[in-house]
């Protein structure tokens, strides 16, 4: 069952990937998931990207060296899944991040794990695999710059960055 899903997923990814440019997702500032440039409506408009990033929440946090979703995180992701289902024109890039406690390469791998955990959850919630891509910035893009747990906790994150695009 799980295997079948995976195979289907792989097929879909290969197909879709072959006809979409990866960098199409990333025009403008995808870093930090601020959703810059997507300001056509207010925070209260459920169709707006601002609603997604601010009301639903565009990110989930992780504990140290972990890629397990928290209960709180799952609530946020369920909201994201619903929004993405309702707004089928949007694509999402899920960025995994790590705090600075770790080596550069490992943190990139860890970021991928986190991003992938989010993607798998969203897929399970019905968001088509083809609308999502994952990437990892490791520890290269912290949002908080102090060297304390309070900052680290904010930096250990996966951010869902949405952008409008149509599938080929």
């Amino acid at each position: 069952m799980h295997m079948m899903t995976k195979m289907a997923v792989v097929g879909l990814v290969l197909l879709s990937a072959a006809c979409t440019r990866p960098d199409r997702f990333t025009d403008g500032s995808n870093v930090g998931g601020a959703g810059g440039g997507l300001d056509q409506a207010g925070v209260n408009d459920p169709q707006s990207p601002q609603f997604f990033t601010q009301t639903i929440g565009d990110r989930v946090l992780f504990s140290s060296d972990s890629s397990s979703l928290t209960e709180q995180g799952k609530v946020v992701l369920a909201g994201q899944a619903k929004w993405l289902t309702d707004n089928a024109d949007y694509l999402a890039i899920i960025e995994g991040h790590a705090d600075e406690q770790g080596t550069r390469e490992y943190n990139i791998g860890l970021g991928f794990r986190r991003a992938n955990a989010v993607r798998e959850f969203l897929v399970a919630q019905g968001v088509p695999e083809t609308r999502m891509r994952v990437t990892s910035y490791g520890k290269e893009r912290p949002t908080q710059i102090c060297s304390e747990e309070s900052c680290y906790a904010q930096n250990r994150r996966a951010v869902t960055v949405i952008s409008i695009a149509s599938l080929s």
Binding site: F112, E140, I145, S147
Partner: protein, 438 residues
């Protein structure tokens, strides 16, 4: 020797029992001192007036190269009895012994147009003998630093019996801007931090450049597309191209094989990171690890037969060694804490690594079987060791703590001595030490 034995036998037979000679006094010395070897480098003779500045500069830089190793200590010229004015003159060893110089370097420089020639000699003062023969280099005046490094390499090699590392370059990531908006660009410099030149702009995040074995190309990870991808850059032309991977796959942490034709790297797909080997010419790639864990930071042994890498398959980051074509991996790190970014030494006998333990980072070395682990540094964040071409010195990234934290490059002798910052004006990280230049 047979003859000597025969003579001895005859002597014994014919002379009959004689007074036995007392054998030599045999002792074993196990304790020594570890200290920089004092050397004297009187200012190189300027053979014409145009060479005045060059001669002084060359002498300074040679002395500085040697002193910076921590293996040598310069005797201040003010202590000299004789200044060794003329290059060709007989060396007054007694004068140099009296100031405790164990090695003496003399030289001369001449300038003609934009051509600079430097010649030098090295002496073992206490043996009263020259080490090797005089040598001369010629180049341009503006290239005087490289000539000085070449002199230093030759001196180093004659005194230590090992090759030097002064005429070498380091590719690294130049950093600027605050921590949360850091700009990074590839740069190259002389081993001592001089002659910094940029190889890329700061438009895209770039990470972890790695020199090719001959120093002509650099592999690095770029986020130009928003996804980590491996680029290969030609140092001379600054031309670059991207190694293609399938969409959905992210490649990073590359290193060249010894022949410069292949790349070993990490590839992430679906949250899993494994190690691959790819051919730069044919584009063919092979997957070398098959674990659901993070396998990354591969580094080939100098003979190309093995790969050391890090994996968290045991639950935490540890070091493993496998064959160059994958297969069974053997764990080699067993101490407390986490181990990452291993690099095989050019000599082949040691592996440098980053260790994380009790909230501190260390650069350390261990033998390839994991024994004799030695931690060389300790700080808030040390990582990413790279070996000098002779396997004697390790350069690495040190990042300071806090909101204003910055990165800089440090070097340390593999004995753990002589920790020192690489003088650069600005932030820097991810050094990769290139080969000795031809």
């Amino acid at each position: 020797m047979l003859t000597r034995l025969l003579i001895l036998l005859c002597a014994v037979i014919f002379a009959g029992p004689i007074n036995a000679q007392t054998g030599p006094l045999r002792l074993t010395i196990t304790d020594g001192v570890i200290e920089p070897l004092p050397f004297a480098a009187p200012v190189f003779q300027a053979e014409n007036s145009a060479a005045q500045t060059a001669a002084a500069d060359l002498t300074r830089l040679v002395a500085q190269d040697l002193s910076n190793t921590g293996l040598f200590r310069e005797i201040p010229p003010s202590a000299f009895i004789s200044q060794h004015a003329s290059f060709g003159q007989t060396v007054a060893y007694a004068d140099w012994r009296a100031v405790n110089a164990q090695a003496l370097i003399t030289g001369a420089a001449s300038v003609s147009g934009d051509q600079l020639s430097v010649k030098f000699r090295v002496y073992d003062v206490f043996s009263g003998a020259e080490l090797g023969q005089g040598l001369q280099f010629t180049g341009t005046v503006s290239g005087w630093r490289r000539m000085a490094h070449k002199v230093s390499d030759a001196v180093y090699s004659r005194i230590t019996g090992e090759t030097g590392y002064f005429d070498s370059r380091v590719v690294f990531v130049w950093e600027s801007g605050p921590k949360d908006k850091r700009l990074k660009r590839l740069a190259i410099m002389d081993y001592d931090g001089a002659n910094v030149q940029f190889l890329t702009d700061s438009a895209a995040l770039v990470l972890a450049p790695r020199f090719s074995p001959t120093g002509d190309r650099v592999l690095y990870t770029s986020f130009e597309s928003g996804f980590p991808r491996i680029n290969v850059l030609d140092v001379a032309s600054v031309g670059r191209r991207q190694l293609q991977t399938a969409p959905g796959e992210m490649a990073f942490s590359p290193r060249f094989s010894q022949d410069g034709q292949q790349v070993i790297y990490s590839l992430s797909n679906g949250g899993n990171t494994d190690i691959y080997r790819g051919d730069l010419n044919s584009g063919a790639s092979t997957r070398l690890t098959q674990a659901p864990s993070i396998e990354t930071a591969p580094s080939l042994s100098p003979n190309g037969s093995q790969i050391v890498f890090e994996s968290d398959r045991s639950g935490t980051q540890q070091l493993y060694i496998m064959g160059a074509n994958g297969g069974e991996a053997r764990r080699i790190s067993f101490g407390d804490g986490r181990y990452g970014s291993p690099v095989w030494s050019p000599r082949g006998d040691l592996i440098a690594f980053t260790k994380q333990n009790k909230g501190r980072f260390h650069i350390g070395v261990m033998r390839t079987d994991g024994s004799e682990e030695r931690l060389l540094t300790a700080s808030f964040l040390d990582e990413g060791p790279t070996w000098s071409p002779n396997g004697r010195v390790i350069m690495f990234t040190r990042e300071t703590q806090g909101a204003t934290g910055t990165s800089s490059l440090y070097s340390v002798d593999i004995s753990g001595r002589n920790l020192r910052p690489v003088p650069l004006q600005g932030g820097a990280s991810d050094p990769s030490w290139g080969p000795l230049q031809p």
